[in-house]
């Protein structure tokens, strides 16, 4: 095939520019309102996943399969957190993914390594972390990730 680089005007571009429509701000507000109806269901799903996570996070190092399961649960919970309306939950789940990735790449292990992020999840779910405390909490989790990432095996 002869390489081709060309200007492409997609249907989305044409449609989005058509007159009418709604203001971007209004569209976002309406979408946020629609998500309120999914809040309770999303919270229930998060609660169920927290129980499954707790069963996977033991005092010993998780096996690669367990790490993959933890990552998968965190991924799904991140999806639900878009509608759950739990402040900080998305950020903490993001750190849980970071922690599983760091452990996956590292042979280093320290007992209780996943406990800080599990505790942070519990706090975020209970909605008891004041907004001003969330930043330092996440920074602490980032330091945990960095500690394990520092031992990462280069493949």
């Amino acid at each position: 095939m002869k390489p081709r680089v060309f200007k492409l005007v997609t249907a989305l571009e044409r449609q989005a520019r058509q007159p009418g429509g709604v203001s971007v701000q209004q569209a976002i507000q309406r979408a946020e309102q629609n998500l309120v109806g999914l809040r309770d269901g999303s919270r229930e799903l998060i609660d169920g996943h927290l129980v499954r996570l707790r069963a996977l996070v033991l005092s010993r190092r998780p096996t690669p399969d367990e790490l993959a399961q933890i990552r998968s649960l965190a991924d799904e919970m991140l999806t639900y957190s878009a509608a759950a309306g739990l402040a900080g939950m998305g950020d903490v789940l993001d750190r849980l993914c970071g922690m599983t990735d760091a452990l996956h790449e590292s042979a280093y292990w320290s007992d209780g390594a996943l406990e800080p992020v599990m505790d942070a999840l519990k706090l975020a779910r209970a909605e008891v972390v004041p907004p001003e405390a969330m930043g330092p909490l996440l920074q602490g989790l980032d330091r945990c990730i960095a500690r394990f990432s520092g031992h990462a095996v280069t493949h």
């Binding site: 095939m1 081709r4 200007k7 569209a27 979408a31 629609n34 999806t79 998305g90």
Partner: protein, 203 residues
């Protein structure tokens, strides 16, 4: 780095009433969240697929204007489906903007998404504001499309910093001629100042 303007500021409008959006996620709640967000954006028609097979059937049957794929979809990864779509002969769907969604994507995931032709990779959680930012970006257009044996997708080059040292430019606008050697020494700032002295003036 690309800076995307904050969509919540200003008076910008968007019309997605005619847009057909395909959402691909193995997770039913994930699909419902996307559907509700798109409904809020004014998208009247959205399709949902929970498996590769479902997604392929829809892509073969319907024209879609935007594809949203969960990167963890179907265990084999959304990039596999993206590769299939970009290298298919499904017109115009193969050119449709594709946004991948991933939980804390690794550098490898970002590279894979980029190399398979994703327009964007968005980190979860997908809030309405973030998704709108990305839709506005792809709806703004202006990005060239590349068709080669190895790569099909939007142009991955975001900036032009010139031809690499010792390389040959492949862009039309790259100069073909060779630069000659300097004829004389470069001037120092003091020498320039001695020739063009800044003057203080008052009115």
């Amino acid at each position: 780095m690309v800076t995307i303007p904050d969509p919540t500021s200003g008076t910008a409008r968007i019309n997605l009433r005619q847009a057909r959006v395909l959402c691909i996620d193995r997770n039913a709640q994930g699909l419902e969240i996307l559907r509700q967000v798109l409904l809020g954006f004014g998208v009247a028609r959205s399709f949902s697929a929970a498996t590769q097979e479902e997604a392929k059937k829809i892509l073969q049957k319907e024209e879609v204007d935007l594809v949203l794929i969960d990167a963890a979809f179907d265990d084999r990864g959304g990039t596999e489906l993206l590769h299939w779509l970009r290298h298919s002969d499904l017109e115009p769907n193969r050119y449709a903007p594709v946004v991948l969604m991933a939980a804390r994507p690794t550098q490898r995931a970002v590279c894979d998404a980029r190399n398979e032709g994703a327009n964007f990779l968005v980190a979860k959680p997908i809030t309405p504001a973030i998704l709108m930012q990305r839709i506005l970006w792809v709806a703004r257009g202006g990005r060239m499309f590349v068709l080669t044996d190895n790569y099909v997708g939007p142009d991955r080059r975001w900036k032009s910093t010139g031809v690499p040292d010792g390389g040959v430019g492949r862009r039309k606008e790259d100069l073909k001629g060779a630069l000659g050697d300097a004829r004389e020494e470069n001037m120092s700032q003091a020498e320039i100042d001695s020739m063009i002295k800044p003057q203080r003036m008052s009115l």
